[in-house]
Amino acid sequence: MKLLKVGMILIAIIAFSAFTSIENTGYKVGDIATDFTLENVDGKMVSLANYPEAKGFIVVFTCNTCPFSVAYEDRIIALNNKYASQGYPVIAIMPNSPTASPGDSMEAMKARAKAKGFTFPYLIDKGQKVYPEYGASKTPHVYVLQKVKKGNQVKYIGAIDDNYQHPDSVNQKYVENAVDALLEGKSIKETHTRAIGCTIKV
């Protein structure tokens, strides 16, 4: 009977945790994002707290293997080149499990960062704890954060722009519009956009 009780409790815990992980849909615009400490391709650990000068961050969940991520690599580099000096550096996080997606191993990430000349940290979400907290569901998936008194507040969630195929045919640069608005102290017109992306590999 005692065993049965323990069993029931265990089941309840498992069931409850499975349930909550499904229910947890991550951050909404306005929420405070918690900091993290993740390994970069240079071997160093990186946290948002390492950037005392930053006004905020462009956090991009991306990876080596998704064609949408690859299509956006140059545009992610351009975002960092444009906004890091203005106080909004890019922090790229690779959320896939390298076991499920071997092309996204730390070694492969290092090679990709070197080949493309990434000018921003490219971190691995080892243990896959950070992406569910944000609520990222795919790559690429962007979160623009602004430093406020309480912490790093989520200001924009979604796509980089409205044309993954042709950078020259983009009509709406969603992330740039959001960061520009923050820099000018204006309100962001579109705080949430959607785009097709690769599901995160667990």
């Binding site: 349930f19 959607r194 992306g197 599901t199």
Partner: protein, 176 residues
């Protein structure tokens, strides 16, 4: 409370069992058996929308996939099996490819041929996904694989992978 726990327990069990199931591999056909030329039906969202809003007496199973999406490719046999088992039972499977135009010839057509796909295939080429994703479903974040199942009365959206028994169970709900 006991009932709730019991239900959750069954859910957990089902969830764990599902992972161990292996789906049937797509039947590979000999290259020389294929005489047919594959003509792609490439649509923008306005052209696709009528396929998502039909009001006849069929159940429509619309799967969004791409050859570059590994979990999509893995679950395609499930949709092919559903197509072959239910085509006489008022269930229509449509596979909507989101492949990039530059890969239609090099990847998509060879993939359709070598896997001998039997379900109807449409190709969606519409870059303004922020506009059309919510029109497919408000629940869709944009990740694939994703599936829409609908009848004229009912519709449900799934941003997930399916195995055959899960998919069949869902379709059965719509056939009731």
């Amino acid at each position: 409370m006991k009932y709730v726990l019991g239900t959750l327990f069954v859910c957990v069990l089902l969830f764990n069992c599902d992972k161990t199931k292996n789906e049937n591999e797509l039947t590979k056909v000999e290259q020389n058996d294929i005489q047919e030329k594959v003509e792609l039906e490439v649509l923008d969202f306005n052209m696709l929308e009528p396929y998502l809003t039909k009001e006849d007496n069929q159940v429509y199973v619309i799967n969004f996939w791409a050859t570059w999406c590994a979990p999509c490719v893995k679950e395609l046999p499930v949709f092919e099996k559903l197509h072959s088992n239910y085509k006489e039972k008022k269930v229509k499977v449509i596979l909507v490819s989101l492949d990039f135009p530059k890969q239609y010839e090099s990847k998509l057509i060879p993939f359709i041929k070598s896997n001998n796909l039997q379900s109807q295939i449409l190709v969606l080429n519409d870059t303004d996904s922020n506009t059309w994703i919510p029109k497919v479903s408000e629940e869709w974040s944009g990740a694939i694989p994703s599936t829409l199942i609908y009848t004229k009365e009912n519709r449900k959206f799934y941003e997930k992978s399916f195995n055959y028994s899960e998919l069949e169970t869902e379709v059965q709900q719509f056939l009731k």
